[in-house]
Structures are given as structure tokens and as C-alpha cells.
Symmetry: C2
Subunit: 331 residues, 2 copies
């Protein structure tokens, strides 16, 4: 039996988001890095949770959010990520499977529990994330289905997951499988702290020509290239990354492809409720267009529309009918 053919296979953290509104003062009191992502251990997670108001739990995880968006738009997707054998693991697995995404990674028994991200959302809609990686960091390389990757169009990797050792090995193996088979490798840099720790690895992957599509925001691009200016950052990667996509929050996005620079404005939003998942859904919209062979400008527009939807409500999983939204906005 041939391996199922996916548009996108993603490897990422299997996380449930625990989200609550909070005041700007609380962010200060807790000494959190406003708008950023911080890794926390079990003890820190407990202390932060105790300081958090009444919360809601919604499945998250950067690459998983991207896949959920892609699947909602009709792409055939598979996810690889490690949950524990517990209630939050069941929640994550349920939410991703009923989104129509293949997810076969068996739950890991015992401690640590399933990853969770404590997300404090300030009145301006900005999210400050505190991630307890839990089981997510123990994804073994054996979970990589090389045949499925070989048959896929795009392998999508989450930079966050480069931090722990086992998933890093798993992603390296996946990249090799993809390169051998001609499956494109897309990588999202995720956060500046990851680049601070693993920038050399990322630069080596890029120099070796292993990354076909790179997603970054402006801060990540600067951290990776050492260039503070957007243009200089893009130039530093030109000729090394065939397709570079840089998201710029309310300033829109830029893509560098085949020697040309494409720009796209942000999609207007009535009220920014929660920015969690903005980059993830931008990637979803962009990749959906790109996998279908659409022109870059249209891929950017799709990204901007999907990102605007996600920041208009709590949580990083779309609540709108994305295909209908795209049809309405793109005409």
C-alpha cells in the first residue's frame, strides 16, 4: 500500500494553550517578557498558573495551529508531535484529529505531562507566552515516517522544537528524508530566543541549502542575520533561501522569491483580541496558496487574511469558515 500523500507534514510541539486576559500591571509584577515566549519548568508553570485569572484551554502549538488552518482550507495534512497519556494529551489529539489532520504519534506514558502554554493576553490583544514543554520535548526520531515525508509536498518544521534534543534529531532525520525525495522543507524560526541558542544550527541548515521556505518575523530575521534593517536582513539570505517570508505584524509582510521582493499590507481588523497564532495562521494561508502554485502576492494575501481572522478572537485555531472567508476577500 502506498504511503498517503499529504500536502503538508508538520513536526511541532503538541501543546494545549491555557489562556486568560490579564492587566499590563500583572505582566510587570510577574516580570514577564511582554509579547515574547519563555520556557518554564513545572514549578514556574505552577506559580504562573496560580497568578493567572480564570482561563480557557484551547489546543495550540505553532506548527499544529498552522496545520489546523491548512486543513480547514482543504489541504491534506499530517502532524507529528508528542503528547503524554493524560487528559490534556487527549484534548490535543482530539482537536487535531477532528480538524481532519492525520496524527499517529502514540501518547507517551508517565511523566512529564502534556505540554501547556500559559498565555497572558493584555488589553491590547498582545499575548505573552510561558511554555512548559513537558512530553513535547521527548519526540523520538523513530516517530518520523520517512515514506510519508517522501510522498508529501511540503515538510513544515517549527523552530521552537529545535531546542530539545530528541525532537531536533527527529527533525534532522525528517529534513534528510525530504531532501532525498524532493519534498520542500519549510521552516519557521518561531522566536528570537531559539535563534539565540540555535542560530548556528539554523545558519548551517540555510548555508547547506536544506531550507526551501523560511518564515520569520522581523526580530527573528534580525537575530538570524545580524542585520537590524529588514532589507539588509533579506539581502543576507538572498540566494540561500529560495523563498523567504517575513511577517511584520500591523505593517504586513514581505516575501523574497526569485530575486523579487513582494509586499503585502496587513488585513484590517476591527479589534485585536488576542494575537496568539498570528504568525502560525499567516504561514497557513501562505502555504495553502503556495502548495497550489499561486503567485506570491496572492499567497501573501492569503496569509494576511488568515492572520487577521485569528487575532480577532481568543485562541490560535480558526473560528471562521476559512475557505468562505478567502473566497469573499480574494474574490
Amino acid at each position: 500500500m502506498p504511503a498517503p500523500q499529504y500536502d503538508v507534514i508538520a513536526i511541532g510541539n503538541a501543546i494545549v494553550d491555557v489562556m486568560a486576559p490579564c492587566s499590563d500591571e500583572l505582566i510587570e509584577q510577574l516580570g514577564l517578557n511582554r509579547g515574547g515566549m519563555m520556557l518554564v519548568d513545572a514549578e514556574q508553570a505552577d506559580a504562573l498558573y496560580a497568578a493567572m485569572g480564570p482561563a480557557r484551554e484551547i489546543s495550540g502549538g505553532s506548527a499544529a495551529n498552522t496545520l489546523a488552518g491548512l486543513a480547514a482550507m482543504g489541504a491534506r495534512c499530517a502532524f507529528v508531535g508528542q503528547v503524554a497519556d493524560d487528559q490534556l494529551g487527549e484534548v490535543f489529539a482530539h482537536d487535531i484529529r477532528v480538524a481532519g489532520i492525520a496524527f499517529d504519534t502514540p501518547a507517551r506514558p508517565g511523566e512529564p505531562p502534556t505540554a501547556r502554554c500559559l498565555i497572558f493576553v493584555t488589553p491590547d490583544g498582545q499575548r505573552t507566552m510561558n511554555t512548559f514543554l513537558g512530553a513535547s520535548q521527548f519526540l523520538p526520531a523513530e516517530r518520523i515516517d520517512e515514506e510519508a515525508i517522501a510522498a508529501a509536498k511540503i515538510l513544515y518544521l517549527e523552530g521552537y522544537l529545535w531546542d530539545p534534543e530528541e525532537p531536533r534529531a527527529a527533525m534532522r532525520r525528517a529534513i534528510e528524508s525530504a531532501r532525498r525525495a524532493g519534498c520542500k522543507v519549510a521552516f519557521t524560526l518561531s522566536d528570537s530566543f531559539v535563534i539565540a541558542r540555535h542560530g548556528d544550527d539554523f545558519r548551517a541548515l540555510i548555508e547547506d541549502g536544506l531550507i526551501d521556505i523560511l518564515f520569520a518575523n522581523e526580530a527573528e530575521l534580525a537575530a538570524l542575520t545580524g542585520q537590524a534593517q529588514l532589507e539588509a536582513g533579506c539581502d543576507a539570505l538572498s540566494g540561500k533561501v529560495p523563498l523567504l517570508v517575513v511577517t511584520r505584524s500591523e505593517k504586513g509582510a514581505v516575501a523574497c522569491f526569485e530575486g523579487a521582493t513582494h509586499r503585502c499590507a496587513a488585513e484590517p481588523v476591527e479589534k485585536v483580541v488576542d494575537t496568539t497564532g498570528a504568525g502560525d495562521l499567516f504561514a497557513a494561508g501562505f502555504l495553502h496558496g503556495h502548495a497550489a502554485g499561486e503567485p506570491i502576492d496572492r499567497c501573501l494575501r492569503r496569509g494576511a487574511i488568515a492572520a487577521a481572522e485569528i487575532i480577532s478572537h481568543y485562541g490560535a485555531r480558526s473560528e471562521a469558515d476559512l475557505p468562505a472567508l478567502m473566497a469573499r476577500k480574494l474574490g
Copy 2:
């Protein structure tokens, strides 16, 4: 040390709601009782969960929702309910404690897990609930703090919890403590199915003069009294229940108190997103006014305002600043 003095002590199910939008067709396919509440066993819960789309988890439980509203409006509250020693139990305990509600019932080790309610929300905002009671039905009577009840203004009891044997015994003990001490007993009938099973118990409590404040919706009032018409239902209880509050969804609410009938229109809502918790928050608003000695008409208005807030978003825990909302609406 004297027992802490609470405005309201509630005994109820300790439940986490698992909520997802769904089509009207799915409700039919699954054979669910649209708009109602159904008890399900573990196997049925698994099957329904598998049929449910991507969901979000938000703490719920009827009486707990009422307390969360009361606490948000400044009332001093305590909750008694049974969670299991698991992740959903931690979620429930966290959410109720950070809402400012005293909650000391120790988690129950082992199986069954914490109660959850699978809530399907149709496009009209109507919720269809399927409750797996889990640990919630094993609340032992020893958990009742008779001193705290004796010092409280109001003991609030959830009819749903009359179904399982242990909590029923706990509530009977709590009622006795309250009566002895002059603490008012408020009871919400919760759902017609509870009345179908335990109507005789409820009628006996009422005949014995043990209920000071009774909350019901129209269907529950009819099931309890055997009178299909609202007026006849109210008449049937007159002289037996000092204060009767009947909620009527978009038709508003009625209260019968000291021989007079008070009516209140529903508060207009821009869009009904999810009706989960409408009755619970009506009770919260009403009781908040009543505990402060306000006139019945103003208590009804408070109930209508709190109910309108809760149905304008997902979940049965308020997202608005309730005191500010009340101040704005009541002047």
C-alpha cells in the same frame, strides 16, 4: 476562630465544559435532545467527543457558574464540589479559586475522572449538553462545613446534583444546617429530567418549608407543578415557597414574592452566541441584589443583565467587568 462569613455557599457539580460549535444536522444525527441536558456514561462521552469538532475547555457547573458571577460582583462565596485528582480537576479548582471563591473540597484520587460536559452549540447559540458526572457524583456528606453554612446568608443548591446518592445526602445535611441557623436555602431545579426522577423529593422539600428561594425555568416549573401555564404553576407554589423566580429565556423572567408577581423583560443581546449558563448567571445577578436587600424588580434586572452578558460569548463564566456593566445598565 469563627467560621468565615460568606454571602453564598453553593454545593454543585464540579465540571469542566468542553464546547464546540456544531450544525443542526449533527444534533439530529447524534440523536441529541436539542437544548437539553443528558447524562452520559464514559463510553457515550467518548463517542460524542469523537463526533465533536475542535473544542475549547472552560470551567462550568451550574452552581459554580452562579458563584463565579456572584464573586465577580463582589459577593463572598464558597463552593463545595468534587473533582478528581487529574488535570481537568486542576483546571476547575484553579478557575474557581482565582475567581475569589473559597474551594476546599479535596480532590478525589483514582477513577472516575473529573466531570465534563460536552456542549454542542448550534448556529442559533442554543446549547445541547451531555454530562459525564465522573468524580462529581461522589461528593461525601462529610465535606459539608456546617459551621460555615450556619454563618452564611444563603445556601445555594443545584438540582442536577440531586441525582447521585452521595451528594444528595450531602445536600440534605446542608439544608438541615442552614435551617437550624437561619441561613436561607436557595434551590435551582436545573433541568426537567431531574424533576422527572426526583420531583417527589423536591415537592416534599417545598411542602416541608425547607426552600426559601426557588429558581426554575418554565419547563421545570411545569414539570414540578403539573401546571402547563406559567400563572397556574406560580399559583401552585404560592404560600409554599417565599420567593419563586422563573426564567423565560427571551421572554424575560417572573418573580413571585410576598403575594405580588414581578415581571422583567429580557435584556437585549446583539447576537446570541452560546446560551450556556444563562440561567446560572440570571441566578447570580438576582441573588447578588437579593443578598443586599434590594427590591425584587431590581434583582430581576440584575439577573437579566448578567444573563445577557453570558449568552453573548462562549462559556458560562463571565468575560465582562460585571460590576461596571451593572453600574452602566442600572444607572
